[in-house]
């Protein structure tokens, strides 16, 4: 797992523990069953990850989770641009770590 991927997966895991305790295992099982992957798919394909979360929890909850994840990392990344989506967040992490 790359450094950027590791950081994002940790942030997702933390966000899930905070906002939806108990559902992390459910989401991981869903990702495994539908994509044969774990949370790392958020880094590889953020759009696909968001679609999977939406299917499981609804689009509004998926948006909420997305914002909590962004909130967890946005301050730490130190960029000036406002991040509005998981796709932009992944892009920013990739820029920082040169991945």
């Amino acid at each position: 797992m790359s450094k950027g991927q590791e950081i994002l997966v940790k942030a997702i895991s933390l966000a899930l523990k905070e906002v939806a305790p108990g559902l992390e295992a459910v989401l991981e099982a869903h990702l495994k069953a539908t994509m044969n992957k774990g949370l790392e798919v958020a880094y590889e394909n953020p759009k696909e990850f968001k679609e999977a979360v939406s299917k499981l929890f609804g689009e509004y909850s998926a948006r909420l989770l997305e914002m909590v994840i962004i909130n967890k990392l946005e301050g730490r990344l130190g960029g000036n641009a406002e991040i509005n989506s998981l796709e932009e967040l992944v892009e920013e992490i990739k820029n920082i770590y040169g991945e």
């Binding site: 559902l23 689009e59 948006r63 914002m67 909130n71």
Partner: protein, 226 residues
Amino acid sequence: MDPLELMIAASKRIAPTFLNYEIGSDVESVIYHLIKRLREDYEEFVIISFQDAYFSISRYLGAIYDDVHEVFRGAHLISVNPYLEEELKPRTSIKTKDAEIIVGRLGAELRTKSNTLFLVLGLDLYGVKYPQELPVIIPAIIRVLSSGGNNNIIISFNTKIFPESTTEMVNSFALNLFKFEVEVENSDIKRKFSVIRCPFVEYTLKSWYYTVTPKRLIFVSGSEKD
């Protein structure tokens, strides 16, 4: 009284009504059923959507229910900080993080409205992004929307993502407070509805498990999980 009927009756009696939901509780469907039943009882229907919340909800509901466009048709949509929601052509777009400016704009547009059904979505999304603005906007928005007569105000809000102080503030302003939780047992999700506060005091702290079907919400008493 059936829990959906209870929410409808309580929201008509006093406002605001907070739907305190957890991720996975399918609160979108609850909102759909509430609006479908309440809308015809009010002259106007206003949606105040923060951070694209209405866009997300309507897209999700559109995939489940055939008549979503009918239920939400003609709503007066005010979008606060829209990103994707512009495509729904809101009547008003407010683009600022400043709570006082947002409420000022809402007040200028809505203060005189009465006999209106208000649906406020995405305050929690806004609060995640601008946490320091939340203690200002919640009381102010309730004050503005409550100023007309016979207004019904429904606000969905996830308190779990905020500190205890925010939860206490939300709870102190909610005259009707309904909770939508998720229980996980061996990767099996069960949804639970509880009445925390409402004018029908005999229902206070009563709970039901519920299932969402395309036609209706099915509630069973809290003691029966299946």
